[in-house]
Subunit: 444 residues, 2 copies
């Protein structure tokens, strides 16, 4: 089916990687299997191009539900699907596992971390973002972020382990430290984590411990900017603050963090929050591969793209999603949300098809479909055009939209069951401490 | 509620572990939260004793379904539950996370890996077994076994990664090595793994790869003893061999393995099986903590227990499950299966209650409820008393028994859905490669 399929049979044995030969049709390389990469691949389904999708994971993760893996409600398998399974029926496409390391735009060649190379005619770069510690990389060990399934399992491990060790702790001060959770960053992820952790402490774990009163759990949500949920209107932020307060979450706005270690965080006010578990939900930066393009980047490492999403000086290279900085006339750059990646990637793929047909590319127009965040049981906020809703209705909408967007009927069914059971029983079904010496003490 | 709950409030701050004071009622310490430990705990539910259950994991694993985690059908959370959740309503019991390191039977004291100590009046030792490489510990890296959730995820990672790398491999011989899976050990676990891997290669992955023909996958099941499924009658073994052959599994009986490395296994015949993935399903040994009892052990490190399951010379210490060697008059030692652990642990707990009531202990009698193994889609073997069945009926029985025995309504429901979907679509829902540098090449 592919030129390189033929070739692979006769390749020299020492060649580690199946290179494509001279393609009869243009070769489109997509880097990244997130929302952007999948959207681009699908847009190219019926096109007369050869497509390769490269990702360093074998699975696509439905990132909006990652915090539910971190908080023991869902299993990794519930929110992730193998990329090659998702795209199995797309016969002009192959999926390869590998990590893109650098891009040589002059030679139109991508080099992988293992040294293999891949040539392209068109490149769609959708590598996503990573969390960043704003220059304090040393904080990473004490304050894991939440971008991958492994991150989510690590946060889950630390949260559950903190309660286990509190049960074995006889020193009251140390026990309270174990029962204190600091969440740095008041965006949707931080708010969702804080709300869910509060519910776990108050309801899920109630009655299971003998030395610990889990209702003494303290959750502190710290935001450096002027407000939590900055992208939402003030009316909804007020509703969110009320919901969080009802759950017992302490909110610290306009409060930067100046130090993080295994025993807590220090705030810009000089105040110290003693906490054995710190989660980082503040700030993301584009994947470092953007640097190898040698084109202008913004402060977060994002490529400042042209109106048609191509890279300045390289009309055959497009950057989409969290790695791109795109600004509508006079506005702020588009946010790092799934819809921006999905729409941008489809637009970039369409522009490639325009080019292969000899036509001019068209500028990207983003259509804002809305914005929502969940706070806790029966509580969420949502903006849909001019509509602003908070509370139970927003929560139902959130559930519906997220179930609907999940990939695969079985995942939808299983997630619905898990949510229904969690709602009815307050239980979380995936309270497993796994990985890395399970019985080890939290690092000091 | 506990004496030590009172004390824990006033403990010296430097004391790392909440010690129980002088108990008003006997303190029963259970080591292990597997089938045995849970059974013992439940038997002591209404008794006037204080119970502590210690495990190095926070979760109980339903081991008979572990191979389905290794083969991407179920998520870890589907077959595991937090021990403290399972026993939450048992008010005379506390659950502690910690790894027992040694037992001082003279002082009736257990020392944990982190140095903490726990005193007991009665001890029920149910630590289970680990896989053993019969002195070849160097084989562990190349041939992981299947005893924990981490083991299962590691096998899943290797199996899925092998196909991914085969897709990127241009050398036909290396590709075939990546598509060859050697399973060492022809007991139920080995048979179940072999059958499921064959189905994954033939059905699940079909059509998803572009360079690889997954039907070329080779699965070799190697058994040193005279036959696979040695504990089953020959009639059922014949049926199992036929089912495996139909799935394309090559069976090598009476064939010991003499060497294992990252490129395959060497057989006693001198033959070499080139395989990039080797799974160890041969041989288990009791947890090494049995050695610290300083009592006679059998070849597998199991404690040769008295008729009442107590340890010779220590009537207050009982050993049950995979760590005990118990022989009915003239017979072979009881096998390392769940029913032996469940019945033995309940009996040991009952004997402790007899002793606290001043009565004599009673000898253990094992009631064999049957034996079953699944081979593949619609195929299993089962022995129930004088009844021997194979094929679809045995398979239905297997499904029913295992669903029924799972802990928790939600787990049952979710597992049923996963199985129904897997049966109807041939799909496996948890095909995720996670942990340890996902894009790394299989170790050489």
């Amino acid at each position: 089916m592919f030129a390189w399929d033929q070739q692979s049979q006769s390749d020299a044995p020492d060649q580690q990687f199946v290179e494509h030969g001279l393609p009869a049709v243009p070769h489109v390389l997509i880097i990244g299997g997130g929302f952007g990469g999948l959207s681009a691949a699908r847009r190219l389904r019926a096109a007369n191009v050869q497509v390769t999708l490269l990702d360093r994971r074998n699975h696509h993760v439905f990132q909006p539900l990652l915090y539910q893996v971190a908080t023991a409600t869902l299993s990794p398998g519930d929110i992730a699907s193998p990329i090659r399974w998702i795209l199995r029926r797309q016969h002009n496409l192959r999926v390869l596992l590998g990590e893109a390391d650098s891009i040589d735009v002059a030679r139109r060649r991508v080099t992988l971390a293992d040294g293999a190379t891949m040539d392209y005619d068109y490149l769609i770069l959708a590598p996503g973002a990573r969390h960043t510690y704003f220059g304090h990389d040393g904080w990473a060990g004490a304050a894991p972020g939440l971008k991958t399934l492994e991150d989510a399992l690590e946060i889950r491990r630390r949260v559950l382990l903190a309660f286990e060790w509190a049960e074995r702790e006889s020193d009251a001060a140390e026990q309270q430290k174990l029962l204190t959770f600091a969440i740095v960053g008041g965006g949707p992820t931080g708010v969702e984590l804080a709300g869910t952790l509060a519910e776990i402490a108050r309801h899920t774990l109630r009655g299971e411990f003998r030395s610990v009163d889990t209702s003494r759990t303290r959750i502190v949500l710290i935001e450096a900017g002027p407000t939590i949920l900055a992208t939402f209107p003030e009316k909804l932020r007020t509703a969110a603050r009320k919901s969080l307060a009802r759950l017992g979450v302490a909110i610290r706005e306009r409060t930067a963090v100046t130090a993080v270690d295994a025993h807590g965080v220090t705030l810009a006010t000089g105040e110290r929050v003693d906490a054995r578990t710190v989660v980082w939900a503040a700030g993301v930066a584009a994947s470092p591969i953007t640097r190898t393009l040698n084109v202008p980047l913004d402060r977060s490492g994002r490529v400042v793209v042209n109106k048609d999403l191509s890279v300045p000086g390289h009309p055959e290279v497009f950057v989409v999603g969290d790695a791109a900085s795109f600004t509508h006339q006079g506005g702020v750059p588009l946010p790092g949300v799934a819809q921006v990646a999905i729409q941008g990637a489809a637009h970039a793929a369409a522009n490639i098809l325009r080019k292969t047909a000899g036509a001019a590319t068209e500028p990207f127009q983003y259509h804002d479909k809305g914005n929502m965040a969940i706070i806790g049981r029966g509580s969420a906020v949502a903006v849909l055009g001019h509509l602003q809703i908070a509370g139970f209705a927003a929560w139902c909408l959130w559930l519906f939209v997220h179930i609907f967007q999940l990939i695969g009927f079985r995942n939808r069914l299983v997630v619905m069951i898990q949510w229904a059971a969690a709602y009815m029983t307050f239980q979380r079904s995936v309270r497993l401490i796994t990985n890395r010496n399970d019985s080890s003490r939290l690092e000091s």
